[in-house]
C-alpha cells in the first residue's frame, strides 16, 4: 500500500503543497547504524507543540495570532519520567485533544520504556524534545537548523544517544 500524503488534507492545503516546488539538497545526510538496536540509546523528537504543564511555558501562540506568518521556533524538554496527563499542547494547526489525553501518540515515551524493558532497545534518553511544527509562511526553519537542531544534537550526544525517532505532527 502506498500512503496517500493528501488523504486527510483539506483541498486548499493539499493544493498549496502540490504547487510548492522543492528538490532535496544532496547528498542526504547518512549515519549508518553501527550497533544493534538492543545496544542503542534512543532520543525522541516531535513537533506537536508539547510542554510540561507544571514547570514550562507553552509555545508562543499569542504572538503567532498577532503575526500569522511567524511560528515559535523554540523547543521544550519532555523528560522520560513524565507522567500521564502532565503534558500540554500549544499548536494552532491541529486539534490537540487527543495528544493531550495520550502524549504517546506523538512522543512515545511510555512505549519506548516498554521497548527498553523488552530489551528491544538499549535505553531511552532522560530528556526528549518537542518543537512546534508551524514555522511561518513561507516556512523559515533557519533557527531550527542553526540553533535548536544543533542544540538537540549536542544534548543527545552528551547523553549517549545513538538513534532518534522523529514524529512531525
Amino acid at each position: 500500500m502506498t500512503v496517500d500524503s493528501f488523504k486527510f488534507l483539506p483541498r486548499l492545503i493539499a493544493t498549496f503543497y502540490r504547487m510548492t516546488k522543492r528538490d532535496p539538497q544532496m547528498p542526504i545526510p547518512w549515519t549508518p547504524l553501527d550497533h544493534l538496536l538492543s545496544e542503542c540509546t534512543f532520543g525522541l523528537v516531535t513537533s506537536a507543540g508539547l510542554y510540561v504543564r507544571a514547570s514550562d511555558r507553552a509555545f508562543d501562540v499569542e504572538r503567532e495570532r498577532q503575526r500569522p506568518t511567524w511560528g515559535d521556533p523554540s523547543l521544550r524538554v519532555i523528560p522520560s519520567d513524565i507522567e500521564s496527563g502532565a503534558v500540554g499542547a500549544s499548536h494552532l494547526h491541529f486539534n490537540t485533544t487527543d495528544v493531550v489525553s495520550d502524549f504517546n501518540i506523538q512522543i512515545p515515551i511510555h512505549r519506548f520504556l516498554t521497548l527498553v524493558e523488552e530489551e528491544r532497545i538499549g535505553g531511552l534518553a532522560a530528556s526528549n524534545y518537542s518543537f512546534m511544527g508551524y514555522q511561518g509562511f513561507p516556512p523559515d526553519t533557519t533557527e531550527w537548523e542553526e540553533r535548536y537542531g544543533p542544540e538537540v544534537a549536542e544534548a543527545f550526544i552528551n547523553e549517549g544517544v545513538n538513534c532518534v525517532l522523529l514524529t512531525p505532527a
Binding site: 486548499l12 549515519t31 544517544v161 525517532l165 514524529t167
Partner: protein, 119 residues
Amino acid sequence: MPVLARKLEAAGLSTVLVTMMPYWAEKVGVPRSLAVEFPFGHSLGEPGNVEQQMRVIRQALDVLETAQNPGAIIHSDERWPHPTDQAIKAWQPEEPSPIIASLAPTFKEMLRNRREIRE
C-alpha cells in the same frame, strides 16, 4: 521536522522519521522514513491504543535497522480505523489557524481565477 532529521543525522545520529506526508519527506530528502496514513496530530495512532502505537513504532525500528540508502521511505500498511470524512474533520483545529484565516480568501480567489482561465 524533515530538516531536523537531516540536521541530527549530519551530527552523527541515526534517525527515522514517522511521517503522514511522504510526499514532503521525498522533496526535502530525509535519511529514513516510515510513512503512515494517519491524520495529522496522530503520528503513532489513537490515544490509548497501545497495540496500534507499538505496531507503528516497531515498523519504524525495522526501517532504522534495514534501510540501506539515504532517502529510504517505507510505507506502512496500517489503516486509520475510522471513516475518512470523519477523520478529516476531527484532526483539524476548532478554529482555522491564523495563517489559513488570513490567506484562504486570497488563495481561493487565485484558484477560481485559474479555473476560469482554463475554461
